[in-house]
Assembly symmetry: C2
Homo-oligomer: 190 residues x 2
């Protein structure tokens, strides 16, 4: 199948993500990339703050969220989520932006990778060159930590409040980098 057909097929597909739509904060960037003749996006997330229940199985499909927010969170929100927690491991996690971009050629992939490096997305890379050439663009503003085990919360209120502050701060830096990357990607228009 050629690149044009694949692109059309992918962009017309129903969004099968849990959320069912593209995050507002990354929509403009995704639309810009999809308007370029040599690129299209296959998945995206603008960055999130999560409270994650980790199952004993360790399997990703069994993971469940007590909270998933694409915006800043408050200490109050987090505390109210911790009122009745299950007897599982609970992780507080702040994730940065992640974007998968299909590219026509390796040269096209290298070009968008250069812009990604310039933005400060330092762990980005071409993750496959087989049927498709896919670049994973991933932010570096993220952290995660275990805060409860078997239903017992280990992080005290002051510490939780510090985690919330850090997560909100990093999410804001992440959002600024999305804008910076957007401005750099514009140069691929010509």
């Amino acid at each position: 199948m050629n690149f044009e057909k694949e692109k059309k097929g992918c962009l017309n597909k129903i969004d099968r993500s849990k959320k069912g739509s593209i995050d507002k904060k990354i929509k403009e960037l995704v639309d810009l990339i999809n308007s370029l003749k040599d690129y299209y996006t296959t998945s995206s997330c603008s960055g999130r703050i999560l409270l994650i229940k980790r199952p004993k199985s360790g399997k990703k499909c069994d993971v469940d969220f007590l909270l998933a927010s694409h915006n800043n969170v408050s200490f109050k929100e987090i505390k109210s989520c911790l009122k009745n927690i299950p007897k599982q491991d609970l992780w507080f996690r702040q994730e940065s932006m992640i974007l998968h971009v299909a590219c026509r050629t390796i040269e096209n992939a290298q070009k968008i990778l250069d812009l990604s490096t310039l933005t400060g997305f330092k762990h980005s890379g071409i993750i496959t060159t087989r049927k498709k050439i896919i670049v994973e663009i991933i932010g570096s503003e993220q952290f995660d930590t275990i805060i409860a085990k078997h239903g017992r919360v280990f992080a005290n209120d002051d510490h939780l409040s510090l985690l919330v502050d850090e997560a909100n701060k990093k999410l804001e830096i992440n959002n600024r980098k999305i804008k910076k990357f957007y401005n750099l990607v514009k140069s691929l228009k010509n």
Copy 2:
């Protein structure tokens, strides 16, 4: 310059890392990769547990470690590091293996990337195709969290102990994956 010359030049260079030598836990894997005609390593770390002083500047060059261990750590070790801490942000961090591999061709890069995916190193990718083709192979067992701010420790002893347990557990999974990857990379010998 051709691949052979670059490889010879790189492998004969003095090790300029802080540690000054290759970590024991990854040495066998590094030697195996360097024995293959189409690959050589340019940098490596087997995974670590760190106590990091984050400077106000946010600059990586200003970062300093209160502790850096390639092996499991004990609660006692961590506590003794926290006796006299500076008035800075302090992060507890467990890092997984990271390896940079120069490859002769994109096809060679894809082959080692496939083995990396098979091992479970899910964020690995080709990070440049310009002068050299470099694959970054990176583990997914890692986490980090802020534990002190302006010299005040926020994480209580129970929580610190939980962090130590998680870090040791993840480092062991990471070490098993290094062995799994080593066995898979052997298939590139022929």
